[in-house]
Amino acid sequence: MLEIQHLTKVYEDGTRALHDIGFTVRDGEFLILIGLSGSGKSTLLRCINRLVEPTEGKVIWNGVDVTAASPRGLRQIRRNIGMIFQQFNLVKRSSVITNALTGRLGYLGDFTSMLGQFPKQDRLHAMASLERVGIREKAYNRADSLSGGQQQRVGIARALMQNPKLMLADEPVASLDPATSHSVLKYLEQLNKEDGITVICALHFLSLARRYGTRIIALKGGEIVFAGLPAEIDGARFRAIYGEEAIEVEIA
């Protein structure tokens, strides 16, 4: 279970990215964060695994205080949290399978990983993960030779290698076409339903949020303006979240 308490993030130039955010995520949920660009979704996700240091507040995951963890403890926490990104963040020149294998770095010591030698079972696990996301045949291609959707699937495979209990997705489909977006989100749904991984996913499109999420939290200006079930977002609430001039667009 993930608890966020009074989370606040103020950047050095005074920008207030998050203000007193608090909510709870139960195991097995598919929580979706929605909101305008700049409303704090990415910052919130990064505060959960402390890629960004919160100014105030606590993040407690399965009883462990992430915000107060030592570097060693943080490493152990992070290796159980997988993350995928809007820009995929793969190492472009490395092969697909090397990218997937970097997911195991949290579990390996410095010296073994330094030489690029991963244990055999990790290599098998990596191939299995790539198979699972359907790009096994591209295993030895360079990562930047893949299409956007394929690259995101490599990202998912990398996260899977960590055997995560929690998956953070920062606008994973924002750079993808509608069909590929559905395909990627279906993988996430599969991980959520079959493997029981809790997923927190930031999305742009409300239609996707409605289709895949079990719960929705909406941010505006760094504050929560809605927390509840997808069906509860009606026209009025939609305008409150996205602003007066927003029109809902169906992503087929």
């Binding site: 695994n49 890629l51 490493r75 152990q76 926490i77 992070r78 290796r79 159980n80 949290i81 997988g82 993350m83 990104f85 820009q87 995929f88 963040n89 793969l90 190492v91 472009k92 020149r93 490395s94 090397t98 970097t102 997911g103 195991r104 770095l105 949290g106 579990y107 390996l108 410095d110 990983s113 330094m114 990202g155 990398r158 996260a159 960590q162 953070l168």
Partner: protein, 575 residues
């Protein structure tokens, strides 16, 4: 300028807020003033230089050293420059003010009238009067200039600061009711205002004037003479011919030597005259018999020699010492005929037998690589390996240094920041000194030869590559770093898996670039003793043996071209 809710429209910018009256504003003003003074001094120096090009002005200057405008004491120049800069600044026409981003304004009014601006400028000049007087006194009274000069300049600067109170308003400002500020330009452009072209601004016109002046001065200082290019082309012709006929092949020469006896002075039994023999080269004395005295005129005739060959006539004295008389050329029919006087200084006791010797070198035999070519090939090999060793050594040392010079890795804690600054500065200094100069230093240290060259090139390579690599490190994509950190990787693992793979293309690219440079440099460091083919080149040039020098030049061009081509292929395949 108009004011509207804290907004000011100036030219094509909309200024939202201002920071007036602070140390920062004071600093901007001082910098602006210094810029103006430098600009005016430069202006004066270039105008003076151009004026001196006119013969009349030059004459006047030589005859009368104190000619105004042409020769002013430095103190006067600086003082005038400061005075003009102050006035200029007040009238809002100053380049330094523009660059220093300061504006003058009066609270509550649209613009400041010219009269107040003039007053402001004059008040500033008056305020600096003590400094001028002190400067003038020092100039006229002090015998040696150094310490007093520095003291004077310091005094001047102190005055500038003393006149600026902590609020950034000098006394002249207060008296003229003017405020100075450094504007914060929050909105860049109000699109309804069309921007004026840069040269219509007063400072733009000034910049234009400075550019024209600079280029004219440049033309004069570098003594550009286009006429000489055309009329003196003949000077280069012989050199050019030599350069396009390099010394590559030679044939081993075969000597034809014939000697004829001669007695000094004549005795009762002079030597038998020689005869022309039909099937081999032979020579006879046609005039003067076979004996005579020093200084007598002798004629010799040869037959059966190689047509058109070149040779030399020698006088050989009784103990076998040869004295060169003259060079000869064989006619197309294989004969030659020459007259000469017996050299007066030949040694020998009376009645001894001397000899006339003709020595002809005939190039026969197969063509083979000339000595020049063999030397050049040997040295080119040395040159290439020189470049290889220097580049490798440079790369190996540059890698750790580049990590220490990378801002994004080092700036986080104070200790590493210090290391960063030290490394950067040292590398900058080493890079600023050309390899040719380093070679001079190392030649003294380890002696002339390729080792000095390797050391010099390596040093420069390390400095250059460390900078290039560190720039590559600083420009890496932070995305993969973020992603791999998120998996729980340690800092070291992140560097190995996210940073290093991103650096390989620029790394290889820069290494190849540096290799190309080193190949070129290694060919010329021999000019100052660093080994390699430059060593041969400078010797041949000094001996005016341009054909041999041409061989070296062509070899260098060929090797460099091949190396460049190879680098391009490697670059294509690997990067």
């Amino acid at each position: 300028m108009s004011e509207e809710q804290g907004k000011t429209i100036r030219g094509d910018k909309v200024i939202i807020s201002r920071e007036s009256g602070s140390v920062r504003v004071g600093l901007h003003r001082v910098l602006g003033l210094i810029t103006d003074v430098l600009a005016l001094t430069y202006f004066y120096a270039t105008v003076r230089l151009l004026l001196l090009q006119f013969p009349a002005a030059k004459q006047a200057a030589l005859q009368n050293p104190g000619t105004p405008v042409l020769y002013l004491p430095w103190a006067v120049i600086i003082s005038l420059a400061i005075a003009v800069a102050c006035l200029w600044g007040s009238l809002a026409m100053s380049l330094g003010g523009r660059l220093g981003n300061t504006i003058y304004f009066r609270k509550g009014s649209k613009s400041i009238p010219v009269g107040w601006r003039l007053l402001h400028g004059v008040l500033k000049i008056i305020g600096m009067a003590p400094a001028y007087l002190g400067l003038w006194w020092l100039h006229t009274h002090s015998p040696s200039f150094r310490i007093p000069t520095l003291a004077a300049l310091l005094l001047l600067l102190l005055f500038l600061w003393a006149l600026i109170d902590p609020k950034g308003q000098t006394i002249p400002d207060k008296l003229a009711g003017i405020q100075v500020a450094v504007p914060e330009v929050k909105e860049l452009r109000d699109v309804s205002i069309r921007p004026r072209p840069w040269y219509t601004h007063s400072w733009g016109a000034l910049v234009l004037a400075v550019l024209i002046l600079s280029y004219t001065t440049g033309w004069v200082i570098t003594k550009i003479n286009l006429k000489a290019l055309l009329t003196d082309a003949d000077n280069a012709k012989p050199l050019f011919i030599d350069l396009v006929t390099p010394d590559l092949f030679e044939r081993s020469p075969v000597q034809q030597i014939v000697r004829v006896k001669y007695q000094i002075p004549c005795s009762a039994t002079p030597p038998e005259p020689a005869k022309i023999e039909p099937d081999k080269p032979s020579m006879v004395i046609t005039r003067g018999g076979t004996c005579g005295d020093r200084g007598d005129l002798i004629g010799v005739r040869g037959e059966g020699f190689s047509p058109n060959a070149k040779g030399t006539l020698f006088w050989v004295d009784p103990i076998g010492m040869a004295d060169q008389i003259r060079g000869i050329v064989v006619e197309p029919d294989g004969t030659f005929q020459y007259n000469f006087n017996i050299p007066l200084g030949v040694r020998g006791t009376d009645y001894e037998i001397h000899e006339v010797e003709v020595s002809i070198a005939v190039p026969t035999g197969p063509y083979q690589a000339s000595r020049t070519l063999r030397l050049v090939i040997e040295k080119m090999v040395e040159t290439i390996f020189l470049a290889l060793m220097a580049t490798t050594l440079g790369v190996v040392l540059a890698i750790p240094l580049s990590f220490l010079s990378a801002r994004n890795l080092m700036i986080h804690n104070p200790l590493s920041a210090v290391v960063y600054y030290i490394t950067r500065t040292v590398m900058n200094i080493f890079r600023a000194i050309e390899p040719m100069i380093w070679v001079l230093i190392f030649v003294v240290w380890v002696g002339i030869g390729p080792f000095a060259g390797v050391l010099a090139l390596s040093l420069h390579t390390v400095a250059s590559l460390a900078k290039l690599y560190s720039e590559a490190i600083e420009s890496i994509d932070p995305g993969p770093i973020e992603a791999i950190t998120a998996t729980g990787a340690t800092r070291l693992q992140t560097i190995v898996y996210a940073v290093i793979p991103q650096m390989i293309p620029p790394f290889i690219s820069f290494t190849i670039y540096r290799w190309d440079i080193n190949v070129r440099m290694s060919t010329v460091i021999g000019l100052v003793g660093g080994g390699g083919v430059g060593f041969l080149l400078i010797q041949w040039i000094n001996l005016l043996q341009y054909r041999q020098a041409a061989t070296a030049v062509w070899a260098i061009a060929l090797v460099v071209a091949i190396m460049d081509y190879a680098s391009a292929i490697v670059r294509e395949k690997v990067v």
